[in-house]
Assembly symmetry: C2
Homo-oligomer: 570 residues x 2
């Protein structure tokens, strides 16, 4: 008789463990159980199903060869026994058995195991304000939620919605509601930016503008106080911390984060981590060596901060699933942790990041310094090129890269730059390596000095002191609130409307005239230096440095970056 393996949870990690284990061990008796009747689905595809990019819900649980991944599929193709509508109620570790309940009949029985795998996932948080449990207040944790929301929208009776939480799921679902269905959507976020745990302020503001460009009503620094029903038609009012802001909407979607499902583990006495997830070692074993856990229910080590953290991502679940199966079958495979790589499509924008944000780096105790660059993703002379924005973060003294964020219209190109840094982060990569990073070059796909190299170059120049920068967000604040002047080194035509509006506050000396007209610039005054994308204003700054101008700051990413975060600036 083969080893008995019981796996609790059959969405992402569970099926991966089961199938890989079967391939490694033809004799194992593998039982995969789930509370639900739909299993082995691409949960990350839910927003695209709701939004209409994916028409048929079955596409989310079909293989690439169009087979539906149901019980029969697992039995016939995979040699894995699946029990659906079955809930694990208790783990008896001494007896090595799990008490399960067949939800349709209420019947209970025991499953004996040699090795147990917990793939219990996470569930959407319902915040504690009044009304968060009302029928038209949805979460998007599973396919049933998705079907309900899509069904409601298909009736055409939903005209307005509120989404609570501007994290990844919140943004994806906001796009889904707005883009195809044309639902007037308000996105509410407590923090002062979207994606607060994922991005610094510049790239986050590019994302915010993309939301607003598509008609989303974005409320930052706003708390939801209460949701209430209006009469009996199901419509809701959302009361927020903003004075006089009471929204009337047809539905509310909660996207306030997820919480790992750990009841079973906790009641069995397994160790939980500081973040609330199940603790596992590098082999993905819990504190009981016969019980493995992985996916959204465990905590993982952030390799940059050294802290344990929750990271609910289907990609990590899949990688961990393979590792667990290898280890159960007698191999040696390690999951060392995460560097927090992430990407997102937001309407026409691709967003990507890895590592820490500026705030997180500060909190961790680093002395973070960042560069922001705007540059075409392909050779600037090649027709397909689009602007790409990168923020690159390093520790001042060690020059180690701590994080990277990027955005642009070509999401694959955005992800491409971030991924190269992401995979290096665990090896420890410094600024100098980024300057010479050997990524592929051909004009249809990159510049000879690519945007990723130039992000490194800019950061190198900042660290060496030759580039004294200000980011576009800070510039906009300073320019609006203080009297500082701009020295615009773009051409006269580009500068004209600004000169007209700001008069003496907006000095224009095109870069090719700067050397001979330097006497026109008051030496003791502070200036923000501006060009199109940053290199010319940096060049001007270096020249002015050599002429004893000590009080200039170079606007990182230039006017392109200003426009990306404030399209109306003039």
């Amino acid at each position: 008789m083969g080893k008995r393996i019981v796996i609790i949870g059959a969405v992402a990690l569970g099926p991966k463990v089961a199938c890989r284990l079967r391939r490694l061990d033809p004799k194992a008796e593998i039982t995969l159980i789930d509370r639900d009747n739909i299993i082995s689905y691409g949960g990350c595809g839910i927003p695209y199903y709701v939004g209409g990019d994916i028409n048929d819900i079955e596409d989310l649980y079909k293989t690439t060869a169009h087979a539906i991944r149901d019980q029969a599929f697992f039995a016939d193709c995979k040699g894995v026994n699946v029990l659906t509508r079955v809930e694990a109620r208790e783990i008896r570790r001494r007896e090595k058995r799990v008490r399960i309940c067949h939800l349709e009949t209420g019947a209970e029985e025991f499953l004996d195991y040699d090795k147990l795998v917990l793939a219990t996932g996470a569930q959407a948080v319902r915040p504690p304000f009044p009304g968060s449990g009302l029928p038209r207040v949805f979460t998007v944790s599973d396919l049933h939620d998705a079907e309900t929301i899509k069904g409601l929208m298909a009736t055409g009776k939903i005209g307005t919605a509120a989404v609570i939480g501007a994290g990844a799921i919140g943004l994806e679902i906001t796009e889904a509601l707005t883009d195809l269905w044309g639902i007037e959507t308000t996105l509410i976020e407590m923090e002062d930016q979207v994606l607060p745990t994922l991005l610094g302020k510049c790239i986050a503001r590019i994302a915010a503008k993309e939301l607003e460009r598509h008609g989303v009503n974005l409320l930052l620094e706003t708390k939801v106080m209460e949701i209430a029903e209006i009469g009996e038609n199901g419509r809701l009012t959302v009361t927020t911390s903003r004075e006089g802001k009471k929204l009337e909407v047809d539905i509310v979607v909660l996207a306030a984060g997820v919480r790992p499902n750990t009841v079973l583990a906790r009641e069995a006495g397994l160790a939980l981590g500081t973040s609330g997830g199940i603790s596992v070692d590098r082999r993905m074993r819990t504190s009981d060596p016969d019980i493995y856990a992985g996916g959204d229910c465990v905590e993982v080590r952030n390799l940059i901060s050294g802290e344990n953290t929750l990271m609910a991502l289907g990609s990590l679940a899949n990688r961990q699933g393979r590792i667990i199966a290898t280890n159960i079958s007698g191999g040696q495979s390690h999951f060392k942790g995460t560097v927090g790589t992430f990407c997102l499509k937001l309407f026409a924008l691709g967003i990507s990041k890895a590592g820490l944000t500026y705030r997180q780096a500060k909190e961790t105790g680093f002395d973070p310094v960042y560069a922001v660059v705007s540059q075409a993703d392909h050779a600037h002379f090649y027709p397909s090129s689009e602007l790409l924005y990168i923020a690159l973060l390093a520790d001042r003294k060690s020059r180690k890269i701590l994080g990277i964020e990027a955005a642009g219209k070509n999401g694959d190109a955005v992800k491409s730059r971030v991924d190269t840094i992401a995979v290096l982060l665990r090896h420890g990569v410094d600024v100098d390596e980024v300057c010479s990073l050997e990524t592929g070059y051909a004009p249809p796909f990159a510049s000879a000095m690519d945007v990723i190299n130039n992000a490194g170059n800019a950061l190198d120049n900042i660290l060496s002191g030759s580039n004294r920068p200000i980011d576009a967000a800070d510039f906009l604040y300073e320019f609006a609130h203080n009297g500082t002047r701009v020295l615009d080194v773009r051409g006269e035509k580009e500068a004209a409307p600004f000169k007209e509006k700001y008069g003496a506050r907006w000095l224009n000396i095109p870069q090719d005239q700067l050397r001979r007209r330097v006497a026109e610039i008051p030496v003791d005054e502070a200036f923000f230096l501006l060009c199109d994308t940053g290199p010319r204003s940096y060049e001007a700054q270096v020249f002015l440095n050599s002429q004893e101008f000590a009080n200039t700051r170079n606007i990182q990413g230039g006017f392109a970056m200003i426009k990306a975060i404030d399209p109306n600036f003039i």
Copy 2:
């Protein structure tokens, strides 16, 4: 007085050194000289100018802010003195001066230097066969060639062309002639595949099919013996090693490789390397510590093979240029070598690679093993997904990755996967790291278990012996020449035409029936296992392994890969 820096060559590396040096050292006297009157241009853009993607030749020497990079631009914007139509004739190292000649007047003079930089580039090889110097036999080394070719085509008098050499430039120029201009083009290559120094046979055959799909007449294993003029209209005959093959064409383009321009360096007694390029250390210094060199005229270390090699790429030139400037101005910056990262657009196909090919790995003394996978670049259920093909190569014993090659319709997505491995290669990356590579995941941009992870997984399975593979190219050969049978585990519909054609040689048992129909398979016979993209045939193989079938081979990348290299196979 500042340091006197003389830079010979003003295309890519030279201008980079000059501009960076000016920013680091405001007092340096920087002189940049070039034989040509056009300088600082994107030579890599030539094929796109010829092909029409770029209309205006000036786009290749304009900045992103549309300024033309000419002498005045370098003087006014960069503070760099440029002398054009000036040739360096002799380096007098003891006196630290360069003898130069003003080509328009023939006047000679000396330039004194404290540091000298050689950026003399490379020139196209003209092979020694008769006729290689005829007027209508072109190279594409500079913008003048490009203008001449484009001018000829614009007259509409060119209907046919031969391109000699199927390396990167050969492929790019073939596309340029064919795509916009509709010129009937024959591409001639001595080796048995296109891109012979860059790709292994599978990905190379995908490229070859893309050429043929666009009407290119591809002649492999073919030598050019002679080119001759027919009468006085300029038409040419190309005699090849193929019997009876005498081509008549209007023009010939030579793309038989480039050779570093080292005469000046050699005559000055500077050390040249085994590959023929100028020898430099990691600081990019030649054997004379006051003379630096970089770009196409130097040899660089291949970090995987350990051999010195030539690598004429604008991207390396730019990175090296920055390093040279840093070092000249008193900093410390190193160019450690190359891992041979490369990418190319070929009609609708993106191709990318890094590291060694199978042949090169063998020659270097490794014991290379490779996996080939076919998988969608985005989540398979997401509408924008396209098939992407990856070949991943490792050393059997050390499990170190030696190289990666990829192709697919979405070039940015192809490059993205290759770049992540490319940047890790110099750190030493093993198969296990690829399995868990933490690249960004969201359905619009990747799969939860991404194609790059699955390339690692497949290679891991091959190395562990559970996957016994055959690549699609070898399968096609074996199936055509030997009697081996196929066990097709796809659905009955997909298999039907093959069963009809091949009868008993083509056994079809859909994967979900394999467990119960295993008795139908003759145990002692050899079978090639086939599915759509590879995972199901691997799963079948693992099952058959457990049932004592020892003689199966899994066709890597499945039918998708077969179709990619032989669209007509049935």
